[in-house]
Amino acid sequence: MTTPAIKVEGISYAYGDIEAVKSVSFEVAQGEILGFLGPNGAGKSTTIKVLTGQLTPHSGKASILGVDVKKDSPEIQAQIGVCFEEKNLYLNMTAVENLSFFASLFRIKNVDIEGLLYRVGLGDRAKDRVKNYSKGMQQRLMVARSLVNSPKVLFLDEPTDGLDPVSSQAIRQIIKDEARRGAAVLLTTHDMHEADELSDRVVFLNEGKIYAMDKPETLKLKHGKRSVRVRFRENGDVKEQIVALDESSTGEQLKSAVDTEGILTIHTEEATLEDIFVQMTGRGLKG
């Protein structure tokens, strides 16, 4: 049995009286992408801070590649990459200097910095100072920085936040490639479509607690309502009929709807992760 890349057993953390993470447990295997879904203040970033050694859990146990995170081991840090939610780059330095500095902290000498920058679409601006970058470019550099040591475990906190659709798609492709390379990825996001597209499994986190953890498809099948929406014209007016697919009379209703004259469109519909999140927690993801 292989050791999970990330193993979390009942960790809790509180900022004073406010409990940010309450007895959270999960595992992430090598090559797996685990999506952490939750609104602001759900405990996503705190969980990442605990796992990356920035905070010490008040209770519970967490390990990265089999090593307890409380041990403050540089060997663990050498194997992880972190992309923070806040853009914490050295603005007076160039992209190459930023990445070279972090490569030197990992004591890696032969990093293909330029290749990495081309991978995130910054190859042409490699020698520009970061303060002259747009927010989207800085975000892409943040992602590149998290990959400088070819990490075995990757923590990505809102990696596509503020990016245009094309850049977002490029970053998503990089995340998929990293997982294919064998990296375990813990991805936090507000974006349900991103979570749905990328994650092998998702965790619904709200008020520091895990509400659900499963494959997106399983969650949707288990908790979401599937239906067919039929739009038709009747006496000059456009009307619509929604047929639920999980009821005993579904077949008859569907046949009746399809037999209707003047059909305009027929769409199958399934619940989104956000619908299920709202259904389970009573809160929206962007709250």
């Binding site: 403050d72 840090q77 007076n92």
Partner: protein, 369 residues
């Protein structure tokens, strides 16, 4: 051993990065360069010699030459200029005669001064004093007139003095007056160190405020590596700039090792203050304000060290007093390690307090981000 090499390499990388950031910060580079040029310029513009002669104008027909010799014999620092009339003497003291601007005190002896003095009668002698002359000098002139009257009348003074008229307690600096610009050397070094404090504080504040230190701490670099790098770079930058200034103002002639040791201790203090102010400020302005508070606190003792006898006891225990006093002793009066040890000890104690506090504040701040 490998772990140690790894730590040293990481500290080296952080120092290199900090140096790049420091050099790229145009504001502080410009201020540091301007500071150096300004302070060196000030030094070379200040007078290099000391003229402590007091020029006194006197008027007394008939006795003027004898009085002149008598007064000049009383004190080597007195020079006498004779005047024919009271009006002209008053005009000279008032600064109305362009060619005799140096006369700040006038003694107007009446025509019957000699006859009345010999008859033991009271003569009225007027002493004119320019507005800027300190009270103690005008009082000294009045005493001089009384002494002259006693000498002319042949009366003994109502007290006797030993052969050695004045017993100097401490070092006798008579005839060995120090030019003001030499006294200013330690103060200029102190000012450069203060500018450096702001520059380093700004560097630390930007790292804290941008949370770049958080990114560093999720790599194999530890908080201790960051602290070591900041201490080493901060101290080296402050030390290097001070040495450049000392060379430019020709202050490394004697006691070189002692002077460098004092500057090194001062640079450590600067690194500590920069850590405290850089970590405490929430933005550029608050960092500047915290820095100013330290500067005001430290500049008072530094000035007091330049004017012996003026420092209150509480001022003498502050680190800047020790720094300036030790440098004055080493660069001006040739004091060695033995005489400077109390000051070095004072600075070292303060260094451990300030640098220790700075490291603690920076560590807590970096880990709490």
């Amino acid at each position: 051993m490998n772990a140690l090499i790894s730590r040293i390499a990481i500290v080296g990388s952080i120092i290199k990065k900090d140096l790049t950031e420091f050099v790229r910060d145009r504001l502080w580079i410009l201020l540091s360069a301007l500071g150096l040029v300004f302070y060196v310029g000030i030094f070379w513009l200040l007078p290099s010699t000391v003229d402590e002669t007091i020029t006194v104008g006197i008027r007394q027909t008939g006795l003027d030459i004898a009085l002149q010799e008598m007064i000049e014999a009383e004190d080597e620092g007195l020079k006498v200029v004779l005047f024919e009339s009271s009006e002209r003497l008053k005009a000279a003291v008032a600064g109305e005669i362009e060619t005799q601007k140096e006369i700040q005190i006038g003694i107007d002896f009446p025509d019957d001064f000699l006859s009345k003095t010999l008859r033991q009668e009271k003569a009225i002698v007027r002493v004119y004093v320019a507005s800027g002359v300190p009270k103690e000098i005008s009082r000294a002139m009045s005493s001089l007139v009384r002494e002259i009257a006693h000498m002319i009348s042949g009366d003994d003074l109502p007290f006797t003095e030993p052969d050695e008229q004045t017993v100097v307690l401490g070092e006798d600096r008579m005839g060995n007056h120090v030019p003001f610009r030499d006294k200013m050397r330690p103060m200029l070094v102190f000012f450069i160190l203060m500018v450096e404090t702001f520059a380093l504080a700004s560097l630390i504040a930007s790292e804290i405020q941008a949370k770049t230190v958080t990114a560093v701490l999720v790599t194999p670099a530890r908080t201790g590596d960051v602290l070591a790098a900041k201490t080493i770079l901060g101290t080296l930058l402050a030390f290097a700039q001070s040495v450049v200034l000392l060379l430019a103002v020709a202050a490394l002639g004697e006691n070189v090792l002692l002077v460098l040791c004092i500057v090194l201790l001062a640079a450590l203090m600067v690194a500590g203050i920069a850590m405290i102010t850089g970590s405490s400020g929430k933005d550029f302005l608050s960092t500047l304000i915290y820095g100013m508070i330290f500067m005001v606190l430290l500049v008072i003792p530094a000035f007091a060290a330049l004017f012996p006898g003026m420092a209150s006891p509480w001022v003498k225990i502050l680190p800047s007093y020790g720094i300036v006093e030790a440098m004055v002793g080493a660069t001006i009066y040739g004091k060695g390690w033995g005489e400077s040890t109390p000051y070095l000890a004072l600075i070292a104690v303060w260094d451990s307090i300030i640098l220790g506090s700075g490291l603690l504040v920076l560590k807590k701040k970096a880990e709490a981000l």
